[in-house]
Structure formats: structure tokens, C-alpha cells
């Protein structure tokens, strides 16, 4: 019985070793090429063909190289680009790509690492070409989407034939001014703001002066109305008897105009003193 067990186990072990060398699984998110004595045989589960599963190979004769089938991100950082208006920009971009033709990819790059760095070279030069012929304004805002599209198709034309990859898209993540320029931008922003601030203050002051002047205008008009009414009232009253009015008003004026202690020199023959000299008055 024990020997049987050992035999069974041995057979199982052999079967396992054999299976491990003949069968291989290609996962949904992987793709593979089969090589016989390093010579290309076939490709399994490349993008476009949905064929994950178990596959057979001849042990020790065939070998399998597998690659990722997912979309891979390639980050390009800090590329300095002189736009067509001589403005330097520091551009970061992300290239999303996928191995589309694993055979070609294997032949030209062998590993994903190598393929990635070769793609990066392609991408940097494609970016330089596309962005170098655009103005910095276009890169920053105006035609960004369009430029990204240009880089993508440029890159696809070059990379697809050379590397067997497909570029899904290129996205400019940052397009920034280099630090020296940035300081100048800040300077300009400050001066712009100072200008705005100055204008607002001046407008405020102007408004304040206008408001005061308007108030003054209204005030003078009001005073004038008052004066006019006063004149009318007096004219109507005094007009009844101008002669008496003059006398009456003069009397009041003498009284109020002369202060306490004002020296007054009066001749004794004045009207006031006429009884001082003659009992019957009369000059």
C-alpha cells in the first residue's frame, strides 16, 4: 500500500513537472509570444484578440515571453521646449501606451524596460517637434488639445512601426514657465494688481469728491432758497411803509450794532439832548 502511494505520488510529481513545462496560462491582462529555439512561433492574446487561457508548448524546446496587456503610463518630466515665440516652457507629459504587436516589441526591445526608454526617446522628440512649432500661448491654452493630438499621431506613426506599440494618448500634464520667467510673471501680476488697486482708490476718491460737491451744491441752493424767502418776507413787510421801516430797522441796528462800552461822542445839540438845553426843545 505504501509503495503504491509512493508510486502514485511520484507519478503525480512527474506529471506536475511535465505540466509545468508544457502548459502555461496567459492571463486576461497579459499577452505572450512563443519561441522555438529562440525563433518566433506565435503570439497569444495580443490586444484585439481575446484569447486568454491555457496553452501548450513543447518542454525545453519552446519558451514563452509574456508582456503586459494593460495600458501603461509613461511620464515624461521636465522637458524644456522653446516655443515658436522664443518663450521657454517646461513641459511634463504622460504618454499612455500599450504593447500592440508583441513580436515586434520583443524583436526591437526584448523587455518592457527597454521598450519604455525607447518610446520615451520617440516621445520627447515628437513633443519637441509639435510644441516647438507652436506659440507658447497655444501650448498653455489655445490649442493644447490639438497639439496633444498631433504628438499622439506623430508618435504612433513612428513608434508603431519601430516598436509595435500603440499610443492611446499623450496628455500634457504641465506646461510651466521656467523659474526665471515665473518671477517675471509674478512681477507683472503685482504691477497689474497695483494698477487695479490704484484705479479703484482713485475712483473711490473721485466719487467721494463728487458726492461732497453735489452735497455742497444742494446746500447752497437750499441756503439761497432761504435767503430769497427771507428777502421776500421782509420786502413784503417793509414794503407797507418803507420810510418807517428804515427808521425802525435803524433803531434796531443801533442797538445791536454798538457793543457794550463803545465810546460815543455826542454833540449836546443832538436830537436826543435837545431838552437838556431848552425846556421846549427845538434847535
Amino acid at each position: 500500500m505504501q509503495r503504491n502511494v509512493i508510486v502514485v505520488l511520484g507519478v503525480a510529481l512527474l506529471a506536475l513537472v511535465f505540466a509545468m513545462n508544457t502548459l502555461f496560462i496567459v492571463r486576461q491582462d497579459r499577452q505572450a509570444i512563443v519561441l522555438r529555439f529562440r525563433e518566433y512561433q506565435r503570439v497569444i492574446n495580443a490586444p484585439g484578440a481575446d484569447q486568454p487561457g491555457v496553452y501548450f508548448k513543447i518542454p525545453f524546446v519552446d519558451s514563452v515571453v509574456d508582456f503586459d496587456r494593460k495600458i501603461i503610463g509613461l511620464t515624461l518630466e521636465g522637458q524644456e521646449i522653446a516655443a515658436s515665440d522664443q518663450q521657454y516652457l517646461v513641459v511634463d507629459a504622460v504618454v499612455r501606451w500599450r504593447i500592440e504587436d508583441p513580436r515586434l516589441f520583443y524583436r526591437s526591445a526584448i523587455t518592457e524596460e527597454v521598450g519604455r526608454s525607447r518610446l520615451e526617446t520617440f516621445a520627447r522628440s515628437a513633443m519637441g517637434r509639435a510644441l516647438g512649432s507652436a506659440t507658447s500661448n497655444d501650448i498653455i491654452s489655445g490649442r493644447r488639445a490639438e497639439l496633444m493630438q498631433t504628438i499622439e499621431s506623430d508618435l504612433n506613426a513612428a513608434a508603431a512601426t519601430a516598436l509595435g506599440v500603440h499610443v492611446i494618448d499623450v496628455r500634457i500634464r504641465q506646461a510651466d514657465l521656467p523659474p526665471e520667467t515665473q518671477e517675471r510673471v509674478y512681477e507683472r501680476m503685482r504691477s497689474e494688481r497695483a494698477q487695479v488697486a490704484g484705479r479703484i482708490r482713485a475712483e473711490g476718491e473721485r466719487a467721494a469728491v463728487v458726492i461732497r460737491a453735489t452735497a455742497q451744491e444742494q446746500a447752497e441752493q437750499t441756503r439761497g432758497e432761504g435767503d430769497a424767502q427771507r428777502a421776500r418776507i421782509f420786502a413784503r413787510a417793509y414794503g407797507r411803509d418803507p420810510e418807517f421801516a428804515a427808521f425802525y430797522r435803524s433803531m434796531r441796528a443801533y442797538e445791536t450794532a454798538l457793543d457794550q462800552g463803545t465810546p460815543i461822542v455826542v454833540p449836546p445839540d443832538s436830537d436826543f439832548f435837545r431838552y437838556m438845553q431848552r425846556r421846549n426843545g427845538g434847535g
Binding site: D29, I71, R173, R193, V210, F234, R240, P268
Partner: protein, 390 residues
């Protein structure tokens, strides 16, 4: 069986013998654990204090020796190729080991999925199905495999800053962006997203969370680049958020990333620190202007009211005075001469009483000397400036 016999023969069960027995006795899968049950009260280590390791009373006849010998003998029997039909005790372990291996192997197919997670099962590498939460089993390892992915939980990505002790630390590398009018703005924002399609999320894009982040950054810069600084930091935030969200979704759909962007939230959109003072000064200028206008308005009220008060005053005074005149005039008409004289004399009376009156007869012709200093209570540049004065 051998084990049962041994258990029965053991002199002091439950005191501590069992823990010595167990390691060596555990030849059958079930024997060991169930054997521990009865002695469980004392526990494997409970016996320790009662019988310290230092002086075990029956150390010589202790169970270890014989058991170890047994085991060694068994091994020798097995590998020495003892007869096939030998006792049960020789053949038994093999199926058990095989069974354990098989069970262990089958267990590689057991997995649990938490609430809010999904399990993605692939059969021979090919996507088969997705499961909800719970304990699940699939075919063991080379045949089927699983990935567990959190699906309902909202994922977030924070861009432009990093949370440190509840406060946002600016990351200028990410936060500074150029606006359409060539200014620089500092933006902190957060993306909320979740997984719309687990299969796509699992298989289509490498490092999808990083991809979402990169797409978000790119989309934000594109949207900001199409707008002016002033509206971005004031009124247009919602529009920017919406624009970024749409652009992101569109891009991620192109990748078939299986991600749904729920919301883009701008937490901060301000002028960069280097120019914030200038920006604040604009706000200050607005305040200053408003203050100037308020002050002017306040003065307006004063000026206008003063003028109205003046008008009111002079009119009323004039009216009063005119009424007074007319009242007097009415009486005057009754007796003109008398009233006139009376008015004159009364007025002069008051005038002369209040003033310093000097009565001077000028008919003599000579200019008299008047020591005004002594006579006048208050010196004044009087009507009669005399050469000798002072």
C-alpha cells in the same frame, strides 16, 4: 489504538503531562486537538506552577522518552521498507498527509470579500465572474484566481497639496498653474471617484489610481489654461470643477479604465503666495474706496441738513421779524409821531447807557483833548483818533 492506550496509562493527567505528550502523540489528525479538550481547564501551561520544571517528581518515567522512541521506531519502520500488509499504524499517516495537502490546496480557492468590495475571478487567466461580499470559493490555484477590489468605497486623489496633521501643505509643483491670461494661480483640488466596471478596472490600465491622478492634473491644467485668472479665483470655480470632471471622464473612458469620476472639488484657488500681497492690496483698495464714499455720504448728510437748517432758520427769523415789524407798524399807524419819538428815545437810551457816551460841544472850534484812556472802559480804534492818545 496506541494513543488511547497511552492516554489511559498516563499517571497524572491534567497536571501537566498532557502538554508533554501532545507534540509526540499527535499522529492522527483528530487525536491531538480533542485530547487537549479534557485537560483544557488546566491548560497546557496551567500545570506549570504546580509542577515547576526544576523538580519534576517522575522525571525518569516521564512520557517523553518512550514516545520519542516510538516515533523513531515508526520512522525507521516506514522508510526501512517494512512489509506492505503491516499494522494499521504504519499505513495510516500517508492518506492523512495527502488529505492535508489536498485540503490545503483546495483552501487556496477560498477567499472572503468584505462589504463594499468585489471579487474578480479568472479561470485559467480568463475573466469569469464577479462576486459580491461574503466567503467564497473557487477552483484551487492554477485553475482559478481572484482579485479583491474595493468598489463602493469612494476613492479620492488630492492634488496640489498633501494633508499633514489636518492642515493642507502646499505642493507648488502641482498647485501652480498658468491661466489663459498668462497669470499663475494656485489650485488645490480633490477628485472623488469610484469604480464603475470592476473588470475594466482590474485588467485594462496599469496602476489605475495613478492614471486617475495624472489625468486629473492634466485636465485641470487644460481647463485653467482656457480661463482668466480673475474669474477662476472668484466666480468660475463651479464651471472649472465641471469642466475638469467632464474632461477626466472622457479621457478615462477612452482608456476603458472602469472608473467613474464622481466629483471634482476645488478647495483653494488663489493667487500664488508670491503675489498675494498685491492681490490683497486690491481688496484693500476696494475697502478704501468704499470708506471714502461712505465718509463723503456721511458728510453729504451733514452739509445738506445744515443748509436746510439754515434755510429754515432764516425764513422763520425773517417771518418773526416781519411779524414783529408789522405789529409795531400797526400801532405806529395809530399814532405815528408819538411812536416814532418813543422808539427813538428808548433806543437811544439803551444805546447811550451801554456805550461810553461823551457829550462834546464842537461849536468852540478848537479840538479838545480827550484823555480817552481814562474814560473809556475798553480801548478801541475809535471814530475820533486823536494825535495825543496813548
Amino acid at each position: 489504538m496506541k494513543q488511547a492506550a497511552k492516554n489511559g496509562a498516563r499517571p497524572q493527567r491534567g497536571i501537566g503531562g498532557i502538554e508533554h505528550l501532545m507534540p509526540w502523540n499527535d499522529q492522527s489528525g483528530g487525536g491531538g486537538p480533542s485530547g487537549a479538550g479534557p485537560g483544557g481547564g488546566g491548560g497546557p501551561w496551567g500545570g506549570g506552577p504546580r509542577r515547576p520544571w526544576g523538580q519534576p517528581p517522575r522525571q525518569p518515567q516521564g512520557p517523553q522518552g518512550p514516545d520519542l522512541d516510538d516515533i523513531l521506531r515508526q520512522f525507521r519502520d516506514r522508510f526501512g521498507g517494512g512489509g506492505g500488509g503491516g499494522g494499521g499504524r504504519r499505513g495510516l499517516p500517508w492518506p492523512i498527509i495527502a488529505g492535508v495537502l489536498v485540503v490545503g490546496w483546495l483552501l487556496t480557492g477560498v477567499f472572503s470579500v468584505d462589504e463594499g468590495e468585489n471579487g474578480v475571478i479568472t479561470t485559467l487567466g480568463d475573466y469569469s465572474y464577479t462576486t459580491g461580499p461574503g466567503l467564497h470559493m473557487h477552483a484551487p490555484t492554477p485553475f482559478q484566481a481572484h482579485q479583491v477590489i474595493n468598489v463602493t468605497g469612494q476613492r479620492t486623489a488630492e492634488i496640489g497639496f498633501a494633508m499633514q496633521n489636518e492642515s493642507a501643505a502646499d505642493n507648488p509643483d502641482e498647485s501652480l498653474m498658468i491661466t489663459g491670461d498668462r497669470n499663475i494661480v494656485e489650485v488645490h483640488f480633490r477628485i472623488y471617484y469610484n469604480i464603475a466596471n470592476v473588470m475594466h478596472f482590474a485588467f485594462n490600465v496599469r496602476d489605475p489610481d495613478f492614471a486617475v491622478r495624472a489625468v486629473a492634473e492634466s485636465a485641470m491644467r487644460e481647463v485653467i489654461g482656457q480661463r482668466q485668472l480673475e474669474p477662476i479665483i472668484t466666480t468660475d470655480r463651479a464651471a472649472v470643477e465641471l469642466g475638469v470632471s467632464q474632461l477626466m471622464q472622457q479621457t478615462l473612458d477612452e482608456y476603458e479604465a472602469g472608473v467613474q469620476v464622481l466629483r471634482v472639488e476645488i478647495l483653494r484657488a488663489v493667487a500664488p503666495r508670491a503675489v498675494s500681497e498685491a492681490f490683497n492690496d486690491v481688496l484693500n483698495a476696494r475697502q478704501d474706496a468704499e470708506t471714502a464714499i461712505n465718509n463723503a455720504n456721511r458728510e453729504t448728510a451733514r452739509i445738506v441738513n445744515e443748509a436746510q437748517a439754515y434755510r429754515e432758520r432764516v425764513v422763520r427769523e425773517a417771518t418773526g421779524e416781519a411779524d414783529r415789524f408789522m405789529a409795531v407798524h400797526n400801532e405806529y399807524r395809530q399814532a405815528p409821531q408819538v411812536t416814532r419819538d418813543r422808539l427813538y428815545i428808548e433806543t437811544m437810551e439803551r444805546v447811550y447807557r451801554n456805550g461810553d457816551t461823551i457829550i462834546l460841544d464842537q461849536r468852540g472850534g478848537a479840538v479838545p483833548y480827550l484823555p480817552l484812556e481814562g474814560m473809556v472802559r475798553r480801548p478801541a480804534p475809535a471814530a475820533q483818533a486823536e494825535p495825543g492818545v496813548r
